[in-house]
Symmetry: C2
Subunit: 213 residues, 2 copies
DNA sequence: CCTACCGATCGGTAGG
DNA sequence: CCTACCGATCGGTAGG
């Protein structure tokens, strides 16, 4: 009896995960608004209402997809990069991880959060609020790693950590945009170059930084 | 007779312009895909099919809106900035013009091309192609002004004009995105600061540049 | 998880 | 420029 219940629950969880994985990809191309329950159901070969039952409303589905994408990015991009030794190398490792994520294009429409945060830029509501939080999180992670690099003496204390975090974030954001629009890996190189030069300008040992890459 | 015909033509042109102006604004919020003929007609208090007759298809409407927005930006942002004397001051004038455009927010959803080029990033077709062309135009304009500033001796010849143009473009793109999402003018300041420092780093007379602002 | 259905809205057409 | 209409699809519900 109990094992049947557990099996059903596990099956439900698995279906839910499959839905979210598929929805993430579709949303990067058609947007969270363009994401339709019927279209999603067809792609997964299940009925519209069967899929709908997992979430209860389109907004709940959208919010669930957002959390799914956040977990994906934390697991695949951020956490692996944070395993690098602290200081400048950890900071640079995170920059490279984001550039790789952009170039590898795990979703057809590129970075999930670049696409959806732009889509909901000017549409107030819980979805916009959550996306804004997540994007702020990313910039704060950069600011934290920069401050740490200052504490261990890799970056000059005179540098403004928040300003620097903003600039790195915008160069990553731009790389994703340009790479999606032109499909040309040159823009990855351009953003990498710009980030490297910017970091070198505030480094305590610029020459070590060049060779450390 | 002839005057009636002319009057009708002029009236038609005026209606068309009103449609495009309204559509531009709606598209920055809901996207070119979310832009619906019915919704647009309701906003303009005319019938759906009456509006439809001006364009013949949704895609034709979308392409017309894109050209309307391009003309708007050339008229309101680019051309006025190009009246500044050539060299570094003209280049900086264009940067400031774009930042002002971002902060003044002529459309509810911010920069028309930032919004729509991201929306069509991964959707091949004539709309994506045209948006990509227009965005490349903007970057090329920057590259041209940088090269000119090198020719008149304001910027070192060693600077890579295309790389610099890319970086300025991404900082402007980022400012629009962040300003729309957080509604905080601090990001305009951050982008301005980053652009200024970047230009100073390649200037032949950095001190003159600071005071020239 | 399913079938069958709801009202609303979509892009587009016929005919004037 | 209009009214009246088309088939398709939207988010969501009833009932199982």
């Amino acid at each position: 009896m109990s094992s049947t219940v557990h099996h059903r629950k596990a099956q439900g969880e698995q279906t839910r995960k499959a839905i979210l994985q598929c929805a993430m990809d579709l949303a990067t191309v058609d947007g969270l608004t363009g994401l339709s329950i019927g279209g999603l159901a067809k792609e997964l070969k299940m009925s519209k209402s069967g899929l709908f039952a997992h979430f209860g409303s389109k907004e709940a589905l959208q919010l669930a997809v957002i959390e799914g994408a956040r977990n994906f990015v934390l697991r695949e991009v951020v956490r692996p990069a944070l395993r690098t030794p602290k200081g400048l190398s950890r900071l640079w490792s995170l920059c490279e991880a984001w550039l790789c994520y952009t170039e590898q294009q795990p979703f057809r429409g590129g970075c999930f959060f670049a696409a959806t945060s732009t889509e909901f830029n000017s549409r107030p509501g819980p979805i916009r609020d959550r996306l804004a939080e997540i994007m702020a999180e990313r910039q704060q992670t950069f600011a934290r790693l920069i401050t740490k690099a200052q504490q261990v003496g890799n970056i000059h204390d005179s540098a403004d950590a928040n300003q620097l975090a903003y600039e790195l974030d915008m160069l990553l954001f731009g790389a994703n945009w340009a790479f999606q629009l032109y499909g040309d890996a040159d823009v990855i190189v351009r953003s990498r170059l710009a980030m490297r030069h910017r970091l070198q300008s505030v480094c305590t040992h610029p020459k070590e930084f060049i060779t450390a890459i």
